[in-house]
């Protein structure tokens, strides 16, 4: 999984949606990983999740209210083809890469569709 970005931009479950949007803007990313106090992944918020929240009270609504629950993840040893198939099947652009230790939810990095496109462009 050499294409994965090591580390991830995260926010807490109690972070407001406005702050999540600001985190995305400042870091120029389209996702934010939501972690709990033990730094375990709880879910992920995408640009579309933020868009869906338009009309809600942005400072009162919390990350935990709009996140996509953590159910899909890969490990560093997942074959790239398998990861791409997972993205296509679930229609998601980023996969959370977690530790291979059984049951671990510690975030190691992110595999993003745009990094795969760069790989495809090189041929």
């Amino acid at each position: 999984m050499s294409l994965m970005r090591r580390g991830a931009i995260t926010c807490a479950e109690q972070t407001s949606i406005r702050e999540v949007a600001q985190i995305m803007m400042v870091n120029r990313i389209r996702y934010c990983v939501v972690v709990n106090q033990s730094h375990e992944v709880v879910g992920i918020i995408s640009a579309r999740s933020i868009l869906k929240a338009f009309g809600k009270e942005l400072d009162q609504t919390k990350a935990k209210d709009i996140l996509l629950p953590y159910t899909i993840s890969i490990t560093p040893s997942t074959p790239l083809k398998e990861a791409i198939e997972l993205m296509g099947k679930k229609k998601i652009e980023h996969l959370v890469v977690v530790s291979e230790r059984l049951g671990s939810k510690a975030v190691l990095g992110i595999l993003h569709a745009s990094d795969i496109i760069i790989h495809l462009a090189k041929g």
Binding site: I17, R18, A21, Q22, M24, M25, V26, R30, A47, R48, I50, L51, K52, A53, F54, L58, L80, K81, I84, M87, G88, K91, E93, A113, S114, I116, I117, I118, L120, A121, G123
Partner: protein, 140 residues
Amino acid sequence: MVRVCDLMHRGVIYCYPLDSAREVAKIMATNQIRAVVVVDETGEVWGLISIMELLGLYGQELEKIKAEEIMKPYKIEVDPQLPIESAIALMKRKKIDQLIIIDPHAGPKRPVGILTSFDIVQYMSGLQVGHYESQLKMKD
């Protein structure tokens, strides 16, 4: 009232229907974008190729696949003067991440810009483009 033209990116990054999928991937990678507009020789919109369409081609010979084979026909025409709330509602309803903006004064199917979900995130964040760090510091 905030309108689409206040938030959209002016101009579109495009390819032609007969360009190969490899070229489309290069356009996407070079410009760091997630969708490429397909236009014909006269500049009219034919369709849109998103990052997910290209991802599905992994493992195939990209030189042999043409843009017109993988594009999704684009039928939603959005006026630059549309209120942003209506544009957001449209994106939510159609489950799409980008809207091609067509100016009726520029001619039929002439793209003048693109509005993405990331532009909406920026709008909702309340931050202006650039100088994010100084803006955040000013808040404190």
